[in-house]
Amino acid sequence: MSQVTGATGASTIHGHGHEHGHSPFLQHHFAEMEQQFDASKIGMWLFLVTEILLFGGLFVGFGIMQGKFPEAFYEAHHHLDWKLGALNTVVLLVSSYTMVMAVHSASKSNQKALIRYLVITLLCAAIFLVVKYFEYEHKIHDGLLPGKFYTYKGDHVPGGQQATFFSFYFMMTGLHGLHILGGMTVIGWVLKRAIAGHFNSSYYTPVDLVGLYWHLVDLIWIYLFPLLYLIS
Protein backbone atom coordinates (compact mmCIF):
# COMPACT_ATOMS: atom_id res chain seq x y z
CA MET A 1 0.00 0.00 0.00
CA SER A 2 3.02 2.17 -0.53
CA GLN A 3 1.16 4.22 -3.12
CA VAL A 4 -0.66 6.49 -0.65
CA THR A 5 -0.05 10.00 -1.98
CA GLY A 6 -1.74 9.28 -5.27
CA ALA A 7 -3.53 12.13 -6.94
CA THR A 8 -3.61 14.38 -3.97
CA GLY A 9 0.16 14.80 -3.61
CA ALA A 10 0.96 17.45 -6.14
CA SER A 11 -2.11 19.50 -6.89
CA THR A 12 -3.62 21.92 -4.38
CA ILE A 13 -5.72 24.00 -6.73
CA HIS A 14 -8.56 21.82 -7.83
CA GLY A 15 -11.94 21.79 -9.29
CA HIS A 16 -13.57 22.39 -12.55
CA GLY A 17 -12.56 24.44 -15.51
CA HIS A 18 -9.18 25.60 -14.22
CA GLU A 19 -7.24 25.54 -17.48
CA HIS A 20 -3.51 25.84 -17.08
CA GLY A 21 -1.89 24.42 -20.18
CA HIS A 22 -3.65 21.02 -20.09
CA SER A 23 -2.30 18.74 -22.79
CA PRO A 24 -5.03 17.90 -25.35
CA PHE A 25 -4.57 14.24 -24.44
CA LEU A 26 -5.60 14.65 -20.76
CA GLN A 27 -8.79 12.61 -20.31
CA HIS A 28 -11.66 14.36 -18.46
CA HIS A 29 -11.72 12.10 -15.43
CA PHE A 30 -8.04 12.58 -14.52
CA ALA A 31 -6.88 15.57 -12.45
CA GLU A 32 -3.62 16.06 -14.33
CA MET A 33 -1.14 14.30 -16.61
CA GLU A 34 0.96 12.80 -13.84
CA GLN A 35 -2.07 10.91 -12.48
CA GLN A 36 -3.06 9.70 -15.94
CA PHE A 37 0.48 8.54 -16.71
CA ASP A 38 0.79 6.62 -13.42
CA ALA A 39 -2.63 5.00 -13.90
CA SER A 40 -1.74 3.85 -17.41
CA LYS A 41 1.58 2.46 -16.14
CA ILE A 42 -0.22 0.46 -13.43
CA GLY A 43 -2.72 -0.81 -15.98
CA MET A 44 0.06 -1.82 -18.38
CA TRP A 45 2.08 -3.65 -15.73
CA LEU A 46 -1.03 -5.56 -14.63
CA PHE A 47 -1.61 -6.56 -18.26
CA LEU A 48 2.03 -7.67 -18.51
CA VAL A 49 1.56 -9.82 -15.39
CA THR A 50 -1.39 -11.56 -17.03
CA GLU A 51 0.81 -12.25 -20.07
CA ILE A 52 3.58 -13.61 -17.84
CA LEU A 53 1.09 -15.94 -16.15
CA LEU A 54 -0.40 -17.00 -19.49
CA PHE A 55 3.01 -18.02 -20.85
CA GLY A 56 3.97 -19.22 -17.38
CA GLY A 57 1.23 -21.84 -17.53
CA LEU A 58 2.79 -23.17 -20.74
CA PHE A 59 6.28 -23.13 -19.25
CA VAL A 60 5.08 -25.04 -16.17
CA GLY A 61 3.35 -27.62 -18.37
CA PHE A 62 6.49 -27.95 -20.48
CA GLY A 63 8.71 -28.26 -17.41
CA ILE A 64 6.57 -31.01 -15.91
CA MET A 65 6.38 -32.98 -19.14
CA GLN A 66 10.15 -32.63 -19.60
CA GLY A 67 10.54 -33.91 -16.04
CA LYS A 68 8.49 -36.97 -16.97
CA PHE A 69 10.13 -37.72 -20.33
CA PRO A 70 13.67 -36.27 -20.29
CA GLU A 71 15.19 -38.61 -22.89
CA ALA A 72 12.38 -38.14 -25.44
CA PHE A 73 12.57 -34.33 -25.08
CA TYR A 74 16.36 -34.35 -25.30
CA GLU A 75 16.14 -36.54 -28.40
CA ALA A 76 13.46 -34.34 -29.99
CA HIS A 77 15.30 -31.05 -29.44
CA HIS A 78 18.00 -32.08 -31.88
CA HIS A 79 15.56 -31.27 -34.67
CA LEU A 80 15.65 -27.61 -33.64
CA ASP A 81 18.35 -25.49 -35.23
CA TRP A 82 19.90 -23.61 -32.31
CA LYS A 83 21.76 -21.26 -34.66
CA LEU A 84 18.45 -19.88 -35.98
CA GLY A 85 17.27 -19.63 -32.39
CA ALA A 86 20.36 -17.65 -31.40
CA LEU A 87 19.92 -15.38 -34.42
CA ASN A 88 16.33 -14.73 -33.40
CA THR A 89 17.47 -13.92 -29.86
CA VAL A 90 19.95 -11.36 -31.15
CA VAL A 91 17.32 -9.87 -33.48
CA LEU A 92 14.86 -9.47 -30.61
CA LEU A 93 17.47 -8.00 -28.27
CA VAL A 94 18.39 -5.42 -30.91
CA SER A 95 14.72 -4.64 -31.46
CA SER A 96 14.36 -4.13 -27.69
CA TYR A 97 17.28 -1.71 -27.80
CA THR A 98 15.82 0.26 -30.71
CA MET A 99 12.44 0.32 -28.95
CA VAL A 100 13.91 1.80 -25.78
CA MET A 101 15.80 4.36 -27.90
CA ALA A 102 12.47 5.22 -29.54
CA VAL A 103 10.94 5.88 -26.11
CA HIS A 104 14.04 7.86 -25.17
CA SER A 105 13.84 10.06 -28.24
CA ALA A 106 10.10 10.53 -27.72
CA SER A 107 10.84 11.80 -24.23
CA LYS A 108 13.33 14.25 -25.79
CA SER A 109 10.71 15.37 -28.39
CA ASN A 110 13.06 14.16 -31.13
CA GLN A 111 10.43 13.14 -33.68
CA LYS A 112 12.81 12.08 -36.48
CA ALA A 113 14.80 9.75 -34.22
CA LEU A 114 11.55 8.35 -32.79
CA ILE A 115 10.28 7.47 -36.27
CA ARG A 116 13.64 6.02 -37.31
CA TYR A 117 13.88 3.75 -34.28
CA LEU A 118 10.28 2.59 -34.59
CA VAL A 119 10.89 1.61 -38.22
CA ILE A 120 14.04 -0.34 -37.26
CA THR A 121 12.09 -2.14 -34.54
CA LEU A 122 9.41 -3.11 -37.06
CA LEU A 123 12.11 -4.39 -39.40
CA CYS A 124 13.68 -6.52 -36.68
CA ALA A 125 10.26 -7.97 -35.85
CA ALA A 126 9.76 -8.82 -39.53
CA ILE A 127 13.18 -10.52 -39.67
CA PHE A 128 12.24 -12.54 -36.59
CA LEU A 129 9.04 -13.75 -38.23
CA VAL A 130 10.84 -14.64 -41.45
CA VAL A 131 13.37 -16.74 -39.54
CA LYS A 132 10.47 -18.33 -37.69
CA TYR A 133 8.81 -19.10 -41.01
CA PHE A 134 11.89 -21.01 -42.18
CA GLU A 135 12.01 -23.01 -38.97
CA TYR A 136 8.33 -23.93 -39.25
CA GLU A 137 8.65 -24.74 -42.93
CA HIS A 138 11.53 -27.13 -42.13
CA LYS A 139 9.45 -28.85 -39.42
CA ILE A 140 6.36 -29.16 -41.57
CA HIS A 141 8.48 -30.66 -44.31
CA ASP A 142 9.85 -33.30 -41.89
CA GLY A 143 6.40 -34.03 -40.47
CA LEU A 144 7.39 -32.90 -36.96
CA LEU A 145 3.93 -31.52 -36.27
CA PRO A 146 1.96 -31.46 -33.01
CA GLY A 147 -0.14 -34.33 -31.76
CA LYS A 148 -1.89 -36.48 -34.31
CA PHE A 149 -0.19 -34.80 -37.29
CA TYR A 150 3.20 -36.11 -36.15
CA THR A 151 4.27 -38.27 -39.08
CA TYR A 152 8.03 -38.35 -38.49
CA LYS A 153 9.23 -41.93 -38.47
CA GLY A 154 12.80 -41.71 -37.19
CA ASP A 155 12.09 -41.67 -33.42
CA HIS A 156 14.75 -43.49 -31.41
CA VAL A 157 13.14 -43.14 -27.98
CA PRO A 158 9.92 -45.29 -28.01
CA GLY A 159 6.60 -43.99 -26.72
CA GLY A 160 5.95 -41.09 -29.03
CA GLN A 161 6.80 -38.31 -26.58
CA GLN A 162 8.55 -36.40 -29.35
CA ALA A 163 5.07 -35.50 -30.56
CA THR A 164 4.37 -33.95 -27.14
CA PHE A 165 7.62 -31.97 -27.36
CA PHE A 166 6.60 -30.60 -30.73
CA SER A 167 3.11 -29.88 -29.49
CA PHE A 168 4.67 -27.68 -26.83
CA TYR A 169 7.19 -26.25 -29.33
CA PHE A 170 4.46 -25.15 -31.71
CA MET A 171 2.18 -23.88 -28.96
CA MET A 172 4.85 -21.82 -27.22
CA THR A 173 6.55 -20.38 -30.30
CA GLY A 174 3.18 -20.08 -32.05
CA LEU A 175 1.61 -18.08 -29.20
CA HIS A 176 4.81 -16.04 -28.99
CA GLY A 177 4.66 -15.43 -32.75
CA LEU A 178 1.07 -14.25 -32.42
CA HIS A 179 2.21 -11.79 -29.76
CA ILE A 180 4.96 -10.58 -32.09
CA LEU A 181 2.32 -9.95 -34.78
CA GLY A 182 0.21 -8.10 -32.21
CA GLY A 183 3.25 -6.09 -31.25
CA MET A 184 3.96 -5.16 -34.86
CA THR A 185 0.43 -3.86 -35.43
CA VAL A 186 0.60 -1.81 -32.22
CA ILE A 187 4.02 -0.39 -33.12
CA GLY A 188 2.58 0.47 -36.55
CA TRP A 189 -0.26 2.37 -34.86
CA VAL A 190 2.23 4.27 -32.67
CA LEU A 191 4.37 4.97 -35.75
CA LYS A 192 1.36 6.47 -37.55
CA ARG A 193 0.69 8.74 -34.58
CA ALA A 194 4.37 9.63 -34.29
CA ILE A 195 4.42 10.72 -37.93
CA ALA A 196 1.32 12.81 -37.19
CA GLY A 197 3.37 14.51 -34.48
CA HIS A 198 1.24 13.53 -31.51
CA PHE A 199 4.13 12.80 -29.22
CA ASN A 200 6.40 15.22 -27.41
CA SER A 201 8.23 15.34 -24.13
CA SER A 202 5.05 16.04 -22.12
CA TYR A 203 2.94 13.28 -23.72
CA TYR A 204 4.47 10.06 -25.06
CA THR A 205 2.61 7.46 -22.94
CA PRO A 206 1.54 5.24 -25.89
CA VAL A 207 5.14 4.89 -27.03
CA ASP A 208 6.20 4.01 -23.49
CA LEU A 209 3.46 1.41 -23.05
CA VAL A 210 4.07 -0.20 -26.45
CA GLY A 211 7.75 -0.32 -25.48
CA LEU A 212 6.89 -2.15 -22.27
CA TYR A 213 4.81 -4.68 -24.22
CA TRP A 214 7.62 -5.21 -26.73
CA HIS A 215 10.19 -5.77 -24.00
CA LEU A 216 7.90 -8.38 -22.46
CA VAL A 217 7.66 -10.24 -25.77
CA ASP A 218 11.47 -10.15 -25.91
CA LEU A 219 11.61 -11.34 -22.29
CA ILE A 220 9.49 -14.41 -23.09
CA TRP A 221 11.77 -15.29 -25.97
CA ILE A 222 14.79 -14.94 -23.66
CA TYR A 223 13.32 -17.80 -21.58
CA LEU A 224 11.99 -19.74 -24.58
CA PHE A 225 15.37 -19.97 -26.31
CA PRO A 226 17.38 -21.86 -23.65
CA LEU A 227 14.46 -24.06 -22.54
CA LEU A 228 13.48 -25.24 -26.01
CA TYR A 229 16.62 -25.03 -28.10
CA LEU A 230 19.42 -25.77 -25.63
CA ILE A 231 18.22 -28.77 -23.57
CA SER A 232 21.27 -30.69 -22.40
Binding site: W45, L48, V100, K108, G160, F225, P226, L227, I231
Partner: protein
Protein backbone atom coordinates in the same frame (compact mmCIF):
# COMPACT_ATOMS: atom_id res chain seq x y z
CA UNK B 1 1.51 22.61 -9.29
CA UNK B 2 4.67 20.67 -9.91
CA UNK B 3 6.10 21.00 -13.33
CA UNK B 4 4.95 17.84 -15.02
CA UNK B 5 7.40 17.82 -17.85
CA UNK B 6 10.01 15.11 -18.27
CA UNK B 7 11.67 15.65 -14.87
CA UNK B 8 8.83 13.59 -13.46
CA UNK B 9 10.11 10.60 -15.45
CA UNK B 10 13.82 10.18 -14.93
CA UNK B 11 15.54 8.88 -18.08
CA UNK B 12 19.06 7.46 -18.08
CA UNK B 13 21.54 8.62 -20.76
CA UNK B 14 21.42 6.86 -24.16
CA UNK B 15 24.90 5.35 -23.67
CA UNK B 16 23.53 3.20 -20.79
CA UNK B 17 21.11 1.48 -23.16
CA UNK B 18 23.96 0.60 -25.54
CA UNK B 19 25.88 -0.87 -22.61
CA UNK B 20 22.87 -2.92 -21.55
CA UNK B 21 22.46 -4.22 -25.10
CA UNK B 22 26.10 -5.26 -25.18
CA UNK B 23 25.70 -7.08 -21.88
CA UNK B 24 22.63 -8.88 -23.18
CA UNK B 25 24.38 -10.04 -26.34
CA UNK B 26 27.33 -11.23 -24.27
CA UNK B 27 24.99 -13.16 -21.97
CA UNK B 28 23.38 -14.78 -25.00
CA UNK B 29 26.80 -16.07 -26.05
CA UNK B 30 27.29 -17.38 -22.52
CA UNK B 31 23.90 -19.12 -22.64
CA UNK B 32 24.85 -20.99 -25.78
CA UNK B 33 28.27 -21.83 -24.36
CA UNK B 34 26.80 -23.02 -21.08
CA UNK B 35 24.49 -25.38 -22.91
CA UNK B 36 27.51 -27.07 -24.46
CA UNK B 37 29.03 -27.92 -21.05
CA UNK B 38 27.38 -30.69 -19.02
CA UNK B 39 27.27 -29.67 -15.35
CA UNK B 40 26.52 -33.15 -13.93
CA UNK B 41 22.78 -33.83 -14.01
CA UNK B 42 20.24 -32.41 -16.43
CA UNK B 43 18.46 -30.53 -13.64
CA UNK B 44 21.60 -28.52 -12.82
CA UNK B 45 21.95 -27.63 -16.50
CA UNK B 46 18.37 -26.36 -16.55
CA UNK B 47 18.95 -24.34 -13.37
CA UNK B 48 22.07 -22.70 -14.83
CA UNK B 49 20.34 -21.95 -18.13
CA UNK B 50 17.44 -20.40 -16.20
CA UNK B 51 19.85 -18.39 -14.03
CA UNK B 52 21.50 -16.84 -17.09
CA UNK B 53 18.12 -16.19 -18.68
CA UNK B 54 16.96 -14.52 -15.44
CA UNK B 55 20.02 -12.26 -15.49
CA UNK B 56 19.18 -11.19 -19.03
CA UNK B 57 15.55 -10.76 -18.06
CA UNK B 58 16.33 -8.59 -15.04
CA UNK B 59 18.60 -6.40 -17.19
CA UNK B 60 15.75 -5.86 -19.66
CA UNK B 61 13.24 -5.23 -16.85
CA UNK B 62 15.35 -2.80 -14.84
CA UNK B 63 16.77 -0.67 -17.65
CA UNK B 64 14.77 -1.14 -20.82
CA UNK B 65 11.44 -1.19 -18.95
CA UNK B 66 12.50 1.61 -16.57
CA UNK B 67 11.41 -0.39 -13.55
CA UNK B 68 14.37 0.97 -11.67
CA UNK B 69 13.21 4.57 -12.14
CA UNK B 70 9.48 3.93 -11.82
CA UNK B 71 7.16 4.05 -8.85
CA UNK B 72 7.70 1.03 -6.52
CA UNK B 73 4.11 -0.14 -7.08
CA UNK B 74 4.97 -1.37 -10.57
CA UNK B 75 7.77 -3.58 -9.27
CA UNK B 76 5.41 -4.87 -6.58
CA UNK B 77 2.93 -5.89 -9.30
CA UNK B 78 5.62 -7.69 -11.28
CA UNK B 79 7.01 -9.49 -8.23
CA UNK B 80 3.54 -10.67 -7.15
CA UNK B 81 2.91 -12.07 -10.63
CA UNK B 82 6.20 -13.96 -10.74
CA UNK B 83 5.72 -15.17 -7.14
CA UNK B 84 2.34 -16.73 -7.90
CA UNK B 85 3.73 -18.35 -11.06
CA UNK B 86 6.31 -19.93 -8.75
CA UNK B 87 3.50 -21.11 -6.46
CA UNK B 88 1.82 -22.88 -9.39
CA UNK B 89 5.09 -24.59 -10.37
CA UNK B 90 6.08 -25.48 -6.80
CA UNK B 91 2.76 -27.02 -5.77
CA UNK B 92 2.42 -28.95 -9.05
CA UNK B 93 5.91 -30.36 -8.56
CA UNK B 94 5.19 -31.23 -4.92
CA UNK B 95 2.36 -33.42 -6.11
CA UNK B 96 3.63 -34.87 -9.35
CA UNK B 97 7.18 -35.67 -8.28
CA UNK B 98 6.34 -37.06 -4.87
CA UNK B 99 3.74 -39.46 -6.28
CA UNK B 100 5.17 -42.99 -6.44
CA UNK B 101 3.46 -45.00 -9.24
CA UNK B 102 2.27 -47.99 -7.12
CA UNK B 103 2.62 -51.43 -8.76
CA UNK B 104 0.51 -54.47 -7.77
CA UNK B 105 2.52 -57.59 -6.88
CA UNK B 106 0.17 -60.04 -8.57
CA UNK B 107 -0.16 -58.14 -11.82
CA UNK B 108 -0.55 -60.67 -14.64
CA UNK B 109 -2.38 -58.74 -17.29
CA UNK B 110 -0.62 -55.44 -18.03
CA UNK B 111 -2.97 -52.49 -17.87
CA UNK B 112 -2.91 -51.36 -21.46
CA UNK B 113 -5.82 -49.78 -23.27
CA UNK B 114 -5.97 -52.80 -25.54
CA UNK B 115 -5.59 -55.62 -23.04
CA UNK B 116 -8.83 -55.62 -21.04
CA UNK B 117 -9.30 -58.90 -19.15
CA UNK B 118 -7.53 -61.16 -21.67
CA UNK B 119 -8.44 -64.76 -20.79
CA UNK B 120 -5.93 -66.90 -18.83
CA UNK B 121 -4.27 -68.90 -21.57
CA UNK B 122 -7.15 -68.43 -24.00
CA UNK B 123 -6.81 -66.72 -27.37
CA UNK B 124 -5.33 -63.25 -26.96
CA UNK B 125 -8.73 -61.71 -27.98
CA UNK B 126 -7.81 -58.21 -26.83
CA UNK B 127 -10.91 -56.02 -26.64
CA UNK B 128 -9.50 -52.53 -27.02
CA UNK B 129 -11.19 -49.85 -25.02
CA UNK B 130 -13.78 -47.75 -26.74
CA UNK B 131 -12.19 -46.20 -29.82
CA UNK B 132 -8.60 -46.39 -28.59
CA UNK B 133 -6.20 -48.10 -31.01
CA UNK B 134 -4.94 -51.47 -29.79
CA UNK B 135 -1.35 -50.33 -30.20
CA UNK B 136 0.86 -50.80 -27.12
CA UNK B 137 0.42 -47.68 -25.07
CA UNK B 138 3.44 -46.05 -23.43
CA UNK B 139 2.35 -45.67 -19.87
CA UNK B 140 2.67 -47.76 -17.85
CA UNK B 141 2.50 -51.03 -19.77
CA UNK B 142 5.13 -51.06 -22.41
CA UNK B 143 4.94 -54.86 -22.65
CA UNK B 144 2.78 -56.27 -25.50
CA UNK B 145 -0.66 -57.28 -24.37
CA UNK B 146 -2.26 -60.72 -23.82
CA UNK B 147 -0.68 -64.09 -23.35
CA UNK B 148 0.60 -65.82 -20.28
CA UNK B 149 3.81 -63.99 -19.60
CA UNK B 150 4.85 -64.12 -16.01
CA UNK B 151 4.08 -61.02 -13.98
CA UNK B 152 4.80 -58.51 -16.77
CA UNK B 153 5.42 -55.66 -14.38
CA UNK B 154 5.06 -52.58 -16.56
CA UNK B 155 7.95 -50.15 -16.70
CA UNK B 156 7.00 -47.30 -14.35
CA UNK B 157 5.90 -44.24 -16.27
CA UNK B 158 8.28 -41.89 -14.41
Amino acid sequence: MSDHSTTAHHHPPAKLYAGVLAALLFLTVITVAASRVDFGSSSINVVIALAIATCKASLVILYFMHLRYDKPLNSLILLTGVLFLGVLLAFCLIDIDSRFPSRPSNLKVPIAAGAAAAGAGAAPGTAPAAGAPAAGTPAPAAAPSGGTQPAAAPTPSH
